[in-house]
Symmetry: C2
Subunit: 141 residues, 2 copies
DNA sequence: CGCCATAGTAACCATTTCTATTACAGCGGG
DNA sequence: CCCGCTGTAATAGAAATGGTTACTATGGCG
């Protein structure tokens, strides 16, 4: 299956929010974020809703509402983002239970699950090494 | 998105083929493999077709046809399998081009691509550390 | 030479997922 | 009370996935 782009959307939104904050605008509407990401404001509200539930951004409603980073950009890693919006297995196990009368069918699932978990942990560790502040720094050279 | 299970199907097929080989049957039909995986023989033929194109298995057609490992199970890693059947990005970039007039939109793609590549490389390295022979050993305890 | 088991593959289907869109209810500051 | 904006439901189209049927191609064997 094609991987989804939610981590990318969310990371883009956060980096843009951090740049806006440095320019004096700590709060952005979903429409302003959507204009940079080039997508629909509802997509942004959904993504940022995931980030809000994970405690990465705060939202205000009513007049003058919008989204703001809930903590310093240097303390939000891409792993935080990935966990908030896409905490799915990178490789799936069998759709249907394998034949348990075959020794391989009976024993393969926990073995593969462990290998996949280790590989996913290595993947996550790399994401944990990059914060939104790091990403923004590299964007701005 | 739900990840696909093709790596699991292919790894299962290969482990089962290696166990059959040790029991004296170096060649299995798609139906025999499908019976262990508990899926349709066509699914197995498609998966093993990917592995054949990658040089991991050999096939024979005609009467008495079937699939066999093309090299020792200890020399087929899960990375070989993953590359053969699922060489897709683990995280997608934007579906639509971001707004290039925004500094973040203009510069974020190569930065995220590099981070994703590094994380994927760590993921791949873990898969490279496990061969089909290793997996089968762990299945059989 | 023809039979036949089996790989290879096309076509189709149901299901799921993803992005996008419209619509509207809820909140809360002015 | 009004209005701008979030939150979210409903819907739709596109794409991927696993599954199924059906057909062609291959090649060993009688």
């Amino acid at each position: 299956m094609a991987a989804n782009s939610r981590v990318t959307i969310a990371a883009h939104a956060l980096a843009w929010m951090e740049l806006a904050r440095r320019r004096g605008r700590a709060q952005l509407t979903s429409e302003e974020v959507a204009a940079s990401v080039n997508t629909n404001p509802v997509i942004v509200r959904r993504s940022l809703g995931d980030l809000r539930r994970a405690g990465l951004v705060s939202t205000r409603r009513g007049t003058g509402a919008g989204f703001a980073l809930a903590r310093p950009a240097s303390e939000i890693t891409l792993l935080d983002v990935w966990t908030a919006v896409a905490a799915e297995p990178l490789i799936a196990l069998h759709h249907t239970e394998p034949n348990l009368e075959c020794p391989v069918g009976a024993g393969i699932r926990p073995v593969l699950a462990e290998v996949y978990d280790e590989a996913t942990a290595a993947f996550r560790a790399k994401l944990a090494g990059q914060s939104i502040a790091d990403v923004l720094e590299r964007i701005l050279q």
